[in-house]
């Protein structure tokens, strides 16, 4: 039995604990925002927060999150008020197909907790999620914009 807190709500899991967290979130918990892109932690489309850390859930077995607090894209905003990173993504009109963007947003949200005012070099080093549509130009602008929005919020 694995207990985990997902978007503030405790849940129990009693199936195959080798199953990656991604499939638990998508198929059991009905949280489909995290996406399957590669299955080997390369692309980051499956990124969620595990105890605040951006984590690629496609390779993380459910057994590893017993007692952990997990936030998915569905739990990032404060009700109808978007998280600054989500707001920046809307403002800069980042998404194209949009498939990777939930993972990108979760990665950036966690990065800004550690690095609230990232330089372009920080972004290059810390953001390794793949966007197949190539939205990187707006994505970079949106990261800087999100950093500014976070400061305004405080």
């Amino acid at each position: 039995m694995v207990r985990m807190k997902i978007n503030g709500e405790w849940r129990d899991f009693s199936g195959d604990e080798d199953m990656p967290l991604l499939w638990y979130l998508r198929e059991d918990a009905g949280l489909k925002g995290a996406k399957f892109g590669c299955g080997i932690a390369q692309c980051g489309a499956c990124t969620v927060h595990v105890d605040g850390q951006a984590t690629r859930s496609c390779v993380l077995p459910v057994s590893a999150v017993d007692g952990a607090s997990i936030t998915t894209i569905e739990g990032l905003s404060d009700g109808e008020t978007l998280h600054p990173v989500q707001q920046a993504w809307v403002d800069e009109d980042v998404a194209q197909c949009g498939y990777c963007q939930a993972g990108q947003i979760m990665a950036v949200a966690a990065m800004l907790e550690e690095t609230p005012n990232p330089s372009d070099e920080d972004i290059d080093q810390q953001l390794t999620n793949i966007c197949r549509c190539g939205t990187y130009y707006r994505l970079r602008k949106a990261v800087h914009h999100a950093a500014a929005l976070r400061k305004e919020d405080r």
Binding site: D16, M19, P20, W23, R26, E27, L31, K32, G33, A34, K35, F36, G37, C38, G39, I40, Q42, C43, A45, T72, I73, E74, L76, S77, L82, Q86, W89, V90, D93, V94, A95, Q96, C97, G98, Y99, C100, Q101, A102, I105, D120, I123, D124, Q125, L127, T128, N129, I130, C131, R132, C133, G134, T135, Y136, Y137, R138, L139, R140
Partner: protein, 751 residues
Amino acid sequence: MNGSSFAATRRDVLRYATSAGALIVAAPLSACSRRASDAESLDHGPQASVGAFVIIRPDETVLIAFPNPEMGQGVDTSLPMLVAEELGADFDKVETTQMPLELKFGDDGAITWKYASQGSGGSYSIVGQWEGLRIAGATARQLLVAAAAEELAVDAAELTVSQGVIRHEASGRERTFGAVAGAAAALEPPEEAPQLKSRDDFSLIGTPQKMKNARAIVTGKAIYGIDAELPGMLHAVIARCPYFDGVADSVNDSAARQVPGVYDIVKIERPPLDGPYGVQAEGYAVVAGSIWAAMKGREALNIDWNHGPYADETSAGFQAHCEELLSGQGQVVRDDGDIDAAFAAAASTHQGYYWQPYVSHAPLEPQNCIADVRDDGIDIIGPMQFPSSANRLVAETLNRDRLSIKVQVTRLGGGFGRRLSSDYVLEAALTSAAVRKPVKLLWTREDDMRHDFYRPAGMHHLRAAFDADGVLTAWTHRLASASKYYRRPNLPETDYWQAELYTDDFPAHLVDNLRVEYFSARSGAPRGSWRAPAHTANAFVVQSFLDEIAVARGEDPLALRLRLLGEPQELAYEQHGGPVFNPGRLAGVLRLAAEKGDYGAVMPAGRGRGIAAHFTFGGYVAQVVDVEVDADGQLNVSRVVAAVDVGTVVNPNGIAAQLESGVNDGLSTALRLAINIEGGRVVDGNFDTYQLMRIADAPREIETHIIDNGDEPAGMGEMGLPPLAPALANAIFQATGKRIRNLPIGDQLRA
């Protein structure tokens, strides 16, 4: 089947009043004037009707359904703009949604579009819907105005429409769309197509609009195929033969059937050797109660695969095969003037060989599809670029009536041409038919990368001749490649070139002696359309070759291009993107990109600035690329400045987005991407070896400059890509003196 009884009459499709008092317009209208000339569109017959759904609710919201699948190219915003412009709606209040596939029997008894063409390919959505969707919006406006005129007891001609409000200027009275929607729904539809606005009166078309579904995306609520569900569905993954056209020698599925949750294992037959693809490969579908159980079941399968008829194929061997072919005489597919005499009389000649590898589409959402095959009908839900192709393939294979197969297109997590093929849809349908339950099929990344329809690989040989006055007198383009037309139904090999060489491309018509020659190479790798298909290869080789010529002649590369392009004129262009190519418009984007990108400025050591331009599917794009290459050969692409001429601009924000996408896709592909083949199978399976570009390598600056010339609109999904690789190679040459002739660049710049 007799279609006449099914043919929709004007009245029964035109208006539906709902009990909620909404006006719903679905207007069947005459075909648009421009032909669909890409092969994918032609597969679906003539575009007999064009229209759209417009739903106007009493609360003033307007819902517009876009007919073409949305895969990131922005049609969920740009197509509704066409409707909303003529409707006079407040675009901020417009919601948009994907139209399900709607087919009907045409007057000739053949299946045709019920409302509008519904494929996404060939950068054709805006072109194909330009007239029809505006007429649909104008029709809805006409009904609303008529209803308001009746209520206000005034002549309809005295009413104006703006931002969802119908106003009688003389009396100052007005009615909102929502207030008259119910009454409008009860009116007789107009007999005549309404008058469309002149372009000077556009207030929405041409303004920058953000993507309509952005909020759903950033909150994780957008529904892709992989997110869709049907009640009671099972999950499936398929173990496919990794060898081209191979089959299983033996299959032991007893352990797989013991895996908890596994429901059944279904064999999927391989398509006939050298015959058209339905599915791509032989496979064994593991059907289970959950995706995880299906994956575990597949791992437990024990299959010995025969290595198939291409067991000896390797990437190196295929390249050598192409080189060998080029040493002989190919199929001459264009032969203007007397090429041999022109080369014999030349004052100077130039030649170059260039190589393009196989590459994969790798949309980030792997293939997936839900199929529910029942005796009374079939439901298909999934990400498809051509849902009508999927409908037809399933109908033909399962011997069903096409109208009994309902297809719902979800949002696509990328397409890039991969989802023009419907192999994964057929796999899902065959599996569902076998287990008689709804089945959701998922491909893993490895499935996707090893069972793609790859962009054709090939070797190009170009030659050019100049006379003593510097006039280009002869040009040959010889290509040995594995055509994507291989295994098309009823297509002889002598037609394979048509997918790989566009014989009206520059410099056709601008040089007296021109020969284009094709060599059909043998390969077992499945091939298909990859964003801007052959334009990627041909732009790279032609625009790189021009730079080589300029350097050899001591001419400025931009000046050489401009003098070869010459004055504006309308040249015949028969293939997709025609009927006209105007070299003056290509020169125009070159000049603008050069000006904005300061092309020709003196560059410091280790830096380079390259330029290239290409005409793709009706659109003209030029790019100036800046690079830095350090002493270790580390490449940094710092800036790309682009000029775009796609005629009348619908959504300039969308054009910039697609330009940026083309730049990054082109760069990613040029830097590291190649599909490697060993022993008749694809080696690469995931992003660890197939290294898509990440943000660190993406240009920090991308500028898009748009020429809005009021010409007929072209699309923008593909045009941004072809100029990137040659402009990059030309910049690298300036920075390093190294000429990139083989893609990808890989480690060629390392000392």
